[in-house]
C-alpha cells in the first residue's frame, strides 16, 4: 500500500514536472520574438534550445534554417511551415527571416492536387446584376428571403407560389 502510494506520488510529481517543463519551453518558443513565434506556429525548428520536443508539429519538410541559433535577434534564414490541407489541395509556405523580422513569404506548394489547375478563391467578389444567376418568379418553386412574419407572408412571393399549388 505504501509502496503503491509512493509510486503514485512519484508519477504525479514527474507529471507535474513534465507539464511544467513543456509549458516552460512553450513560453520560450512563443516568447522569443517574431522568429520564435513564427517558428512555433509553423512548426519549423528555429533554435536548438527551444525545439526539443516542444512543438512536435514539424511538417514533412522541416526547417532548412541556416541562421545562427539561440539568440532570437540574430536568427536568420528560411523556415518551412508544415503542410496544411485545404479544400483546394495542400499548401505549404516558407518564410525568410533577417534580423528577427520576416522579410519574405513564398509558397513551396500551392494547391497542387493532381497537377490540375484548381480554383483557389471561393471568396465573394463584386458581381454586376447582369452577372448573377437570374430568376423569374414564375420559374422558381420556392423563395428565400429574410424571415417573413406571418403577416408579411400574405403579401410575399412565396404565398403566391403556395397559393398556386394548394
Amino acid at each position: 500500500m505504501r509502496i503503491r502510494a509512493a509510486i503514485s506520488a512519484a508519477l504525479a510529481s514527474a507529471g507535474i514536472l513534465l507539464v511544467g517543463w513543456q509549458s516552460g519551453t512553450h513560453v520560450a518558443v512563443t516568447g522569443s520574438s517574431a522568429v520564435g513565434t513564427s517558428a512555433g506556429t509553423s512548426g519549423a525548428k528555429g533554435s536548438n534550445e527551444t525545439t526539443s520536443g516542444s512543438s512536435g508539429s514539424s511538417g514533412p519538410a522541416s526547417s532548412s534554417g541556416s541562421g545562427s541559433v539561440g539568440a532570437a535577434a540574430k536568427a536568420a534564414g528560411t523556415y518551412a511551415g508544415s503542410v496544411v490541407r485545404t479544400r483546394y489541395g495542400t499548401v505549404q509556405v516558407q518564410i525568410t527571416v533577417k534580423a528577427g523580422a520576416i522579410t519574405d513569404v513564398t509558397a513551396l506548394k500551392l494547391t497542387d492536387a493532381e497537377r490540375k489547375s484548381v480554383q483557389i478563391s471561393s471568396r465573394a467578389a463584386p458581381l454586376l446584376r447582369t452577372e448573377v444567376i437570374r430568376a423569374q418568379s414564375a420559374n422558381v418553386q420556392t423563395i428565400s428571403g429574410a424571415t417573413v412574419t406571418s403577416e408579411a407572408y400574405l403579401g410575399s412571393l412565396q404565398a403566391a407560389i403556395d397559393a398556386a399549388n394548394l
Binding site: R87, Q119, S121, S122, R123, A124, A125, P126, L127, L128, R129, T130, E131, V132, I133, R134, A135, Q136, S137, A138, N139, V140, Q141, T142, I143, S144, G145, A146, T147, V148, T149, S150, A152, Y153, G155, S156, L157, Q158, A159, A160, I161, D162, A164, N165, L166
Partner: protein
C-alpha cells in the same frame, strides 16, 4: 438599383406541385411535393401525413424554445426561473450547438441577447427544418421542398430529376427577385438561408455598434443550420465574417450591400 425581374404574380410554368402551409414560430412553413409523385397513391393522405410530421417537429420545438410563449422553457430561462444547468436535455443540446457556432464564427453568432438572456431563436428554425427533413425521410418521401419563412431545405427533385429552383427575394422590393439558385437534384447544395435587416430588422445583433454593411445575405450549404447561422453571422460580422465563412466552409454566398451592389461567390455567377 436595377431589378433583375419584373414584378409579377407567378403563373407557374414549371413542374406541378402540391403544397401545404401552416403557421409556427411566428412565420409560415410551406411544404411542397411534386404532384406527379403522389399520383396512384391517396394523394391527400400522403400530403396530410407529411404536413403533420413536419408540423409536429415545428410545434414541439416552438413549445420549448419560443420566447413569446410565457410558459415555454426558454421564457422561464429568460426570467431566471430555470438555469442552464437545470434545463432540459434538448435545451442544453441546442445551447451547446449555438455556443459551438459562437466559437466557429469568432463570436459573431451568439446564443445570447445583448442583455445576456439566452436566445436560441437564431438556430432553432434551421434545426427544425433539419429535423423536419429527417421526418419526411422517415416517411419514405424522397422529393420535397420545405420553406420556413424564407429558409429553404429541399430533397430530390420537383420532377424528372431536375433541381429545385429557388429565388432570392430583392431586399428592397419583395415582389422581385435579385437572383436564383438551384438546390437538390444534381445541384451541390440542399439548403439556402437568407438573413437581412429588411423584415425582422432587430433580430440580428451586430458585433460592433452601428448598422451592418449588408442589408441581406444568402448562404447556400449542404446543411440548413450552417446556412442559417452563417447568413446571420455575415450580416452581423460584415465582410470579415463573409471571408471567414467562404474560407472555412463549403458554401456559396450572395450578399447585398446597403448601396444595392452585390458581392457573390463564383457559385452565384450565371
Amino acid at each position: 438599383m436595377q431589378p433583375t425581374s419584373e414584378p409579377q404574380t407567378p403563373a407557374p410554368t414549371g413542374p406541378a406541385l402540391s403544397a401545404r402551409t401552416f403557421h409556427c414560430m411566428g412565420t409560415v412553413i410551406s411544404l411542397s411535393l411534386p404532384a406527379g409523385a403522389l399520383s396512384g397513391t391517396p394523394r391527400e393522405r400522403v400530403l396530410d401525413n407529411a404536413t403533420a410530421a413536419v408540423g409536429r417537429v415545428f410545434a414541439g420545438l416552438d413549445r420549448t424554445f419560443s420566447l413569446y410563449r410565457p410558459q415555454s422553457e426558454a421564457s422561464r430561462m429568460a426570467r431566471g426561473e430555470v438555469t442552464l444547468r437545470g434545463a432540459s436535455a434538448a435545451m442544453r443540446a441546442r445551447y451547446a450547438d449555438a455556443a459551438g457556432w459562437r466559437l466557429l464564427t469568432g463570436g459573431t453568432f451568439t446564443p445570447e441577447r445583448p442583455d445576456g438572456v439566452p436566445d436560441l431563436s437564431g438556430i432553432i428554425k434551421g434545426y427544425a427544418l433539419r429535423q423536419a427533413g429527417a421526418a419526411l425521410g422517415g416517411l419514405q418521401l424522397e422529393d420535397w421542398c420545405l420553406n420556413a419563412g424564407g429558409d429553404v431545405l429541399v430533397c430530390g427533385s420537383p420532377g424528372s430529376g431536375a433541381p429545385w429552383q429557388a429565388g432570392i427575394v430583392h431586399p428592397q422590393d419583395r415582389r422581385r427577385l435579385v437572383s436564383g439558385f438551384s438546390l437538390g437534384g444534381s445541384a451541390r447544395f440542399a439548403a439556402l438561408a437568407t438573413s437581412g435587416t429588411a423584415e425582422r430588422g432587430d433580430h440580428i445583433w451586430t458585433a460592433g455598434a452601428g448598422r451592418s454593411e449588408f442589408c441581406q445575405v444568402s448562404v447556400a450549404a449542404a446543411d440548413i443550420v450552417a446556412a442559417d447561422v452563417l447568413a446571420t453571422a455575415i450580416v452581423a460580422g460584415g465582410r470579415t465574417m463573409l471571408d471567414r465563412a467562404t474560407d472555412c466552409w463549403d458554401v456559396e454566398v450572395l450578399a447585398v450591400l446597403r448601396s444595392g451592389d452585390l458581392l457573390g461567390t463564383p457559385g452565384f455567377r450565371a
